[in-house]
Symmetry: C2
Subunit: 212 residues, 2 copies
Amino acid sequence: MSAEPESRGRGKREETKASNRQAIIDAARRVFAELGYGATTVRDIIRATKLASGTFYNYFKSKEEVFQALQDETALRVRPRLRAERIRARNFEEFISGSFRAFFDFVKTDKVTFATMRENQDLENVRIDTPEVIAGFDELRVDLELAIKNGVMPDTDPDLLMAAMVGVAFEVAGHLVRRSDLTVEHAAKFATALFLGGVQALPRRSEATPSA
Amino acid sequence: MSAEPESRGRGKREETKASNRQAIIDAARRVFAELGYGATTVRDIIRATKLASGTFYNYFKSKEEVFQALQDETALRVRPRLRAERIRARNFEEFISGSFRAFFDFVKTDKVTFATMRENQDLENVRIDTPEVIAGFDELRVDLELAIKNGVMPDTDPDLLMAAMVGVAFEVAGHLVRRSDLTVEHAAKFATALFLGGVQALPRRSEATPSA
DNA sequence: GTTAAAGTTGACGCAGCGTCATGAATGTCT
DNA sequence: AGACATTCATGACGCTGCGTCAACTTTAAC
């Protein structure tokens, strides 16, 4: 009666704590997907689990917080892919096209997650502003700044460029999910071409920005 | 005891109907701005009015629906401006730059509306998918298709181009609201340059798309 | 002035919210 | 091993918002 298969030496306490938390997150994912974020109640989530209602609040303050946890899980899966693409890139073109391709690829294969993440059957949506997601955006901006410093890219406003890439990525991804005739390949080519062609024409910081 | 100042010959019935509806919408605008969309309840809205709770449901099905009405009011103000800019445009450059400038201009002068529209103090956001807004997007797409037909623009996927413009517009607008050092002028120049430069490089439909 | 239609009102039943006293399970110390 | 302390699950509780509906009031029609 020894040698538990569970990860080494964690006390039973931590054990169930982790498993309860995960149970709630998993239930939440299922319920959000089924009812949509707006229509889901904390009670719906906890009912989809073996736990009692009070227990929910030992782990999360609200359904928003569970949703954030889901977002973070997702971002945690996507970020490394994007990172890898960008590190692998040997020039600016690969940097851009790799990023878009990786993101669109994720979106297409993981439609459900993206759909739940982006919009629900109602009009309710949730801002994608969890720490993990913000960190992902920041990573992109830092890399853009690096590209500028290395002279691979014109010295333009990296904030705006990041915003533009994010905007295009998400909005095009929306079409990618909805339109069946649209391939990842095509979407990525489109976005890449737009930015490669456009970046050269962007206003340089020395010209237009008043300073900070 | 005659000659009411109110618009001609409308019965008293229609009169109060319109005024009640507007009272609810106005109250909603105030309350959303104060509490944020997520935290606001139908009761909060109706309490900010002289009406009884039941009356709310004679005019709207839910707070979502009032919000949509607000969105539509906003879109109704923005659309004509965008339309005007595009009609005035004598070439593709003016088409693009006019659109962005008009939109950013609206956003900057009407920060509150845009902020309430886009995000609330919580993480909650609402999808901007009301009929009026969609119609605005469609208008843009139709104009893009026209530009393609006229040979002013390469024959690329107008859906994706529209998505890209919308994505950039909204995401950059977000920065415009937050960053005080960012001018409408700069943001518009940025977005315009990106698209003018980028569009030329976009994949043509004859090359890449398999068809419909 | 009478009657019909339309619209307003607030009380009602129902459901979800977040809390908290209770008790069970786990860890600790001797 | 047993006794005590700690941590945590539980579900009932009070509260608030939801959407409905029967009763009433106001306007329109004749």
